[in-house]
Symmetry: C2
Subunit: 186 residues, 2 copies
């Protein structure tokens, strides 16, 4: 996956600048900035921006990939240190809490999950795998029903992400997670 391309020093610097600036803007709630203007804001030419990140989503993915990886790591850790049903609950509740604190992540995940482009789906593939692992472990130990694949949970998570800007987000999301967990009891 990670092609062995030793990026030139200035290119690496520019790439980092772009990601840093994007993170800053996302944190401030600026998502719908003109892509070209964003380049200017980061102090690079449009061409450079487009070479590093062909699309808006690619940039968003780069900004949040650490966060996404951390989530997956957390899932793996929970899975090995806790009973499967507890692990899943912690993971899902944590997921919602995290979205509350990071609007940009919710936005990014929404578009990544909706996106058809296989290349960009990478970001969510890892998440899907993490969920799948939690489910499998739970099914094996008998603490979760075994007839539900990760796709169903991902659909629900997608719905949750997409609603990040609604006033009743938190209670509704929590309620949905509660339903899922209750429904997953064998």
């Amino acid at each position: 996956m990670t092609d062995a391309k030793p990026l030139r020093a200035d290119a690496r610097r520019n790439r980092a600048t772009l990601i840093a600036k994007a993170r800053e803007l996302f944190t401030d709630g600026c998502f719908d900035l003109r892509f070209d203007d964003f380049a200017k804001l980061a102090g690079v030419g449009t061409g450079t921006l487009y070479r590093h990140f062909p699309t808006r989503e690619a940039l968003a993915e780069a900004v949040y990939q650490e966060e996404l990886a951390a989530m997956c790591a957390r899932a793996a850790e929970l899975r090995t240190t806790r009973p499967a049903d507890e692990a899943l609950e912690s993971f899902l509740r944590g997921f919602v809490d995290h979205l509350c604190a990071h609007e940009g992540l919710a936005r990014t995940l929404t578009s990544l999950m909706a996106g058809q482009s296989a290349a960009l789906a990478d970001g969510t593939r890892a998440l899907t795998q993490a969920v799948a692992d939690l489910l499998t472990t739970g099914a094996a130990s008998g603490s979760l029903r075994d007839d539900v694949g990760p796709g169903a949970i991902m659909m629900a998570l997608h719905g949750i992400c997409a609603a990040y800007d609604q006033p009743t987000f938190k209670p509704d999301a929590d309620a949905l997670i509660t339903l899922l967990l209750a429904g997953l009891k064998p």
Copy 2:
């Protein structure tokens, strides 16, 4: 809501033509047509198209509003003729089946639910109300838990709609509905 504006005869005709053409195209799977081209295809000028339907979503809503109304009517009917939990199950299962058969509806609902514009949210408000009524009835009769609002269900439905083009759509959607129903038991 429905302003008393007697539309001129030719205007009414054009409006109907536009909706008919849009329905035809949606049924054929053509969703991403250029809006201006669409006007040409329907045999009207761009100005006319924009006057009748300010946005793509407005057109989509017009195309599917009958279908949406039928869904809500079905919910109401089920609610009065069946035990609440059965009614909800029938409604949700029917919803998924309907989406399978009408890709365009799934697409439309996805964007309506995601849309922030209050004006366009009308289409889903009715759906939300239908779900709310089913839940309330169920809670009153004790066949459904009473601590879950319609928002949670709508989130799940949004996730389902958004996944309409994925290969595993049907089984995943069915599984999610199963989870919700199981989770809703008191």
